[in-house]
Amino acid sequence: MRRFILIAVPYLWLVALFLIPFVIVLKISLSDVALARPPYMPQLDFAAGWSGLVSFFAELDFDNFWFLTTDDLYWKAYLSSLQIALVSTVLTLIVGYPIAYAMARAAPEWRPTLLMLVILPFWTSFLIRVYAWMGILANEGLLNQFLLWLGVINTPLTILNTNTAVYIGIVYTYLPFMILPIYSALERMDDSLLEAAEDLGCSRLSAFWLVTIPLSKNGIIAGCFLVFIPVIGEFVIPSLLGGSGTLMIGKVLWEEFFSNRDWPVASAVAVILLLILVIPIILFQRNEQKQREAEG
C-alpha cells in the first residue's frame, strides 16, 4: 500500500500536468473554429447527459490536420524548424565541447567557480538576455560600433533580424545545456586512460579521438538532445532576433493562436510538433538508460 502511494504521487503529477493538458489540446485540435468564447466548437455540455456526449464526439474531426497539408507554410515551417534546430545543435556542440573540456581539465579548486559561471546567466530573466542581444546585434548596436571603431568594417553588418542572429541567440541560450552533461562525462574520466593511450603509441590528438571522445559520447548525446528538442519549438528567440525570413513552427503557432485566433489549427500544429518530438525524446531516454546500465 505504501509502495502504491509512493508510485501514485508522481503518476498523479504526470497525469495532472502532462496528460490532461495534452488531452485538452488534442480535443481543441479536433474542434472547429468559432466566433465564441472560447473560440471553438463544440463545447462539452455535461448537462445534456449521454446524448450530449454522443453529439459532442460526433462533431470532432480531423479537418484541421487536413488543413495543415493544404498550405505549404506549415510543412515548410516544420522543416525549417528542424533545420534550424539541427544547425544550432551542431553549433552549440562546437562551442560547448571545448568549454566543457577546458572546465574538466582545470585545477579541481577552480571547477566549482567555472561551473557557477556557466549557470550564472540563468539567474537573470531569459527575455532580458534576449533583448540585450538585440542591443548588441542591432545596426547601431554595440558589436557594429565596436567593429567600426576597430576599422574591420566600413558599413554596419546586418545581423539582427536574420537567421544568424537566431543562431547566435540559440547557441548563447542553450549553451549550458550542452556544457553541463559533457562536463560531467569528462570530469569523471580517469586521466590515466589518456596516459595509457599515449603509452600504447597514441599521439595526444589520437588519444583524444580514441579515448576522450568515446568516453564523453553519452554526454554529447545528452547535450545534443537537450538543445535540439526545445529549439524545435522555440518561439521567443526567432520572433525577437529573427526576421520575416525566419520561419519556425513556434512562431507559426503563436500567430495562429494570437493573431488569427484559430485555436483549433494552432492546437493541431502543437500536436504534430509533439509527435515529431516524441522520436528524439524516446532516443534520448534510451541513451540515458544505456548510460545508467553501463555505470550500474
Binding site: 580517469d190 590515466s192 586512460l193 596516459e195 595509457a196 593511450a197 599515449e198 603509452d199 600504447l200 603509441g201 597514441c202 599521439s203 589520437s206 580514441l210 579515448v211 568515446p214 568516453l215 559520447k217 553501463a294
Partner: protein, 374 residues
Amino acid sequence: MSQTVFAPWNDPDEKPLIQFRNVTKRFGDFIAIDNLTQDIYAKEFFALLGPSGCGKTTMMRMLAGFEAPTKGQIFIAGQDMARIPPNKRAVNMMFQSYALFPHLSVWDNIAFGLKREGKDKDAIAARVDEMLRLTRLSKFAKRKPHQISGGQRQRVALARSLAKAPKLLLLDEPLGALDKKLRQDTQFELMDIQEKTGTTFVIVTHDQEEAMTVASRVAVMDEGQIIQVATPAQIYEAPNSVYVADFIGDVNIISGRAKPNGEKVAIHWAEGQPDIIGTTATKFEAGQEIHFAIRPEKVAISTEEPADAANKTKGKVLDIAYLGNISTYHVELPTGHVVKAQTANTRRLSRRVITWEDPVWVSWTDTAGVLLER
C-alpha cells in the same frame, strides 16, 4: 662449458639499458625521488621494493615519460629521454590502477597498441589471441572491463602491456590481485616471456617472495632513495643496513658496542650476557655502535645446552607461531630481548617437544648473522 652467470652489472664493458643520473623529482616541496643514480641492464628483471609512498611508481612514470625529472637525466639505450614523449618510447607500462579503456572490450583493449602500430588485421588478431591464451582470458574476450573481476582486469592490463613486445616493460604491482596459485603461474610465465623475448622488466611489488622469485636484482627503496641493490640472495643474506634486513623477511636485530678481534667482532650487548661473536669483512672501531642481524631460521633452539655453539644463551618460550611447514618460537631472554627461532616441522604437532613457558637454549654459529653499522 660451464653456464655463465647472468650478471651484467659486474661487467665493466656492459652498457646499461637504463641510466638514472642524479635524478631528483619534486612535487611542490615534496621530494619524491632524491638524487637517484642507478643503472639497469638489458634483459634484467629488476624489482623495486619499498614501503608505500617511497617513490616506486614515480620512478616508473619517469621511465614511461609521464613525469619529467626535476633535476638529473634518464638515458634509455644511451639516449637522453628528456624530450621524448611517451608514445615515442619503446616502453610499455602496466598501470597500478590498470587504466583499462572502459568503452572497449577486453579484446580491443589488448589490440589497442597493436592497431596504433598499423599492423595488418590477421597479425593483430593472432597476437591478441596469443595474449588472451597466455593470461587465460580467452573466454572473456568480448566482455567490457566492468563485466569482469578485479583479477581478470589485472590480467587484461598485463596482456595489453605485453602485446606490443616492448624493449622495456614496466609493471606496477602486476600480480597483486591474483590468488596465490595464479600469481605463481603468472610469475613463471613472466620469467618465461622474459627469457624468450629478452625484454627488460622493471617490476614494482609489495610481495617479497615475488621479488625473490622473479628478479635478477632487487632494489630496496625508502623515501625516494635506493638503499641497496643486489641479487635476491645477497639482499637476503647480506643486507647493507638494518632497514634492508628488516624490510626483507624476518630478522632478529640486537644492537650493542663493537669489540674488534681480528677477523671476528665481539658485540657487547647486555650486562651479564656473553658477547655475541660474529664475522665481518668491514672494519669496526672499538666501542662503535653495531647492529647484529640474524634470520630466525639460523637460530637453533634446544632444550639441552648445545655443546659447541659460538653463541648461546638461555631464555623462555613466549610464543609459538605454527605455520604448517615451519614453526617460529619467540624466546624471551632474561634481558627482555625477544629472539625468534625457526625450525622445520619434521614431526607431527602432537609430538612437539618444546612448548610455552619452557626454558630453552638459543644458539647460532659465528657466521650465521651479519654485522651492520646502520
